[in-house]
């Protein structure tokens, strides 16, 4: 799929968790079977918006994530469409066995919408910054994994998740990010989206790194290099075809994610390229390390997750292709 965009300078920033809260409440108005669960973080994950609108269908499960996930499984087994939310680090780490055995193994219709993913959590520090959640969710059979790039894609992904019968992991962020997609954008699970066409290098990005990749493409263009930017919001199912076709055109690849370079988008791209069309790949992401306290901007710089880092990676990939 193709949806060509240019980032607007100075545009309003919206956090994907805010878009989730609104989209969930909207969904609740349309579908009486939608219910929401939270583990004492409803004001942060924004399920409180749903809870206020539909108090009977909102279940605060307290600080007990394991029970929340398996309760969601029970609600799904009885025909409900539960959205279970907490911070990504708890949803995927603390309750991993419940997500595995109570939700994915029986293919139950539970949507896990996890906020505060990655290091843009900021000041809370490494204990609260999930750098491994995509890897943990991606490896589970039956699971669909979506990492929306902005507010608009989040709203569309919430609807797509509800329409899909089966477990879905939605990765949401705390910090505001620029608007990338207009109202005409149609999100489809399992489809990567070409946001900018180029013939020198493919930049595969997800989440907050999509905006950074678009900025990087602008900078590369200033140096005479045409980068193709691909938004890989569906980590699973993974759009092998779009990714492989892009590198057939460019011959060099960069992956960019606010996650460990192991097992997430970088891992998925590496698997795809190795099996379909091997080209040089440079992975931008956390290099097998936990995060720490700091402002989101400081952390993105400190851990090498900026447009400038993507530019460097792109040049390295192009360089390696030439030797």
């Amino acid at each position: 799929m193709k949806y060509l965009v240019r980032l607007q300078e100075g545009a309003k920033k919206v956090a994907t968790r805010d878009a989730y809260g609104e989209a969930l409440a909207e969904l609740g108005r349309e579908n009486p079977d939608v219910v929401a669960l939270d583990a004492d973080l409803s004001k942060s994950t924004k399920t409180a918006v749903f809870g206020k609108a539909f108090p009977a269908r909102f279940f605060n499960m307290g600080i007990a994530e394991a029970n929340m996930m398996a309760t969601a499984a029970g609600l799904a087994a009885a025909g409900k469409v539960p959205f279970a939310s907490t911070f990504a680090v708890f949803a995927t780490g603390r309750a991993f066995d419940q997500v595995r055995n109570s939700i994915c193994y029986p293919h139950l219709n539970v949507k896990i919408a996890a906020s505060h993913a990655g290091i843009t959590v900021g000041e809370d520090g490494g204990s609260h910054q999930s750098v491994e959640d995509i890897a943990l969710m991606r490896v589970l059979p039956n699971m669909t994994v979506i990492v929306p790039a902005d507010a608009g894609e989040t709203r569309a992904a919430v609807r797509a998740a509800a329409a899909l019968d089966g477990p879905v992991y939605l990765r949401l962020g705390r910090a505001g990010g620029p608007i990338i997609f207009g109202p005409d954008y149609s999100f489809r699970v399992g489809e990567a989206v070409v946001l900018r066409e180029g013939r020198d290098v493919s930049l595969f990005a997800c989440g907050v790194m999509v905006a950074e990749a678009l900025k990087a493409a602008d900078q590369l263009a200033g140096e005479g290099l045409e980068a193709e930017v691909v938004n890989v919001s569906s980590l699973k199912p993974f759009d092998w075809r779009t990714v492989a076709e892009s590198v057939v055109r460019t011959g060099a690849a960069v992956s960019a994610e606010e996650h460990s370079i192991i097992g997430g988008l970088g891992g998925a791209v590496a698997e795809c390229l190795a099996e379909r069309h091997p080209v040089p790949l440079v992975r931008v992401g956390l290099r097998d390390t936990f995060g720490e306290s700091g402002t989101p901007d400081e952390l993105m710089k400190a851990y090498g997750l900026t447009a400038a880092d993507i530019v460097r990676a792109a040049k390295e990939a192009i360089q390696r292709r030439r030797v």
């Binding site: 007990a64 029970n67 309760t71 029970g74 799904a76 087994a77 009885a78 419940q98």
Partner: protein, 256 residues
């Protein structure tokens, strides 16, 4: 069944067998010809390793042919080593990783109440299983949400794989713990059908809180060489031992 499969959990299956028989033949509002009937009662075997007892009850109740029980744990069988709701008609929840079933039962009870339905949810837990922290998260939540449409049984056979629960990691005093967590607690002999059915009636009449029926049971019940022996938790009998077990069980049945 476990002898034919050459693996499985006979001890904890036999301790729960009387409760399962009472549930499937006297208590549960189910229709084996319509396993997905929306108005059915739900039963969650939280101690999923007692799957052989559940399968036997389901087969005898008519969900699938009794002969199919011999396929337990075999490749391509609908009867997995632990219950799989996607494979076996009548199985309501996939369990086996201990501590998760009561949470699932709680979710079902919330859904039923939300829809104003009168179907009820039953669950069966092991006493060793109560060593899992999630059990107490679920206990707290069920009482918090006043799930009086949820009734749980505790198969209190006193043994787990590595030995007596008191020695391995005591979850006792179980009755007091469940009471403290806000549940209505009934203590019974888990091999006395009158007491099992009486407790279920009491649970149905109990409003505003869930009920835990703590059933004192004997691991390996009805089988002379297995009774109260922890080593029979996860070991299948040999063909000769299985013959002996069946003779014991028939004798026990006749005596009753």
């Amino acid at each position: 069944m476990t002898a034919a499969a050459k693996s499985g959990h006979p001890g904890g299956s036999l301790s729960a067998a009387d409760i399962l028989a009472a549930l499937y033949f006297r208590v549960l509002r189910v229709d084996p010809s319509r396993p997905g009937w929306p108005e059915r009662d739900r039963f969650v075997l939280s101690k999923g390793h007692a799957a052989p007892a559940l399968y036997a009850a389901l087969a005898e109740r008519g969900y699938f042919p009794v002969e199919e029980l011999k396929t337990l744990r075999r490749i391509h069988s609908r009867l997995q080593g632990h219950p799989d709701m996607r494979k076996t008609p009548g199985v309501e929840a996939s369990t086996g990783s201990l501590g998760q079933g009561l949470s699932m039962a709680g979710g079902m009870a919330l859904a039923g109440r939300l829809d104003g339905c009168d179907w009820r949810v039953y669950a069966l837990l092991g006493d060793g299983e109560c060593e899992e922290g999630q059990v107490w998260e679920a206990a707290m939540a069920a009482a918090h949400y006043r799930l009086d449409n949820l009734t749980a049984f505790l198969d209190n056979n006193g043994l787990q794989i590595d030995g007596p629960i008191e020695q391995v990691m005591s979850p006792n005093p179980l009755n007091d713990k469940w009471r403290a967590f806000g549940w209505h607690v009934i203590e019974i002999d888990g091999h006395d059908f009158g007491q099992i059915l009486g407790a279920v009636d009491e649970a149905k009449k109990t409003k505003g809180r869930p009920t835990m029926i703590v059933a004192r049971t004997i691991k390996g019940k009805g089988c002379s060489f297995m009774e109260n022996e922890a080593e029979w938790h996860g070991k299948a009998p040999s063909p000769e031992q299985a013959e002996q077990a069946l003779r014991d069980l028939e004798k026990g049945g006749a005596a009753r």
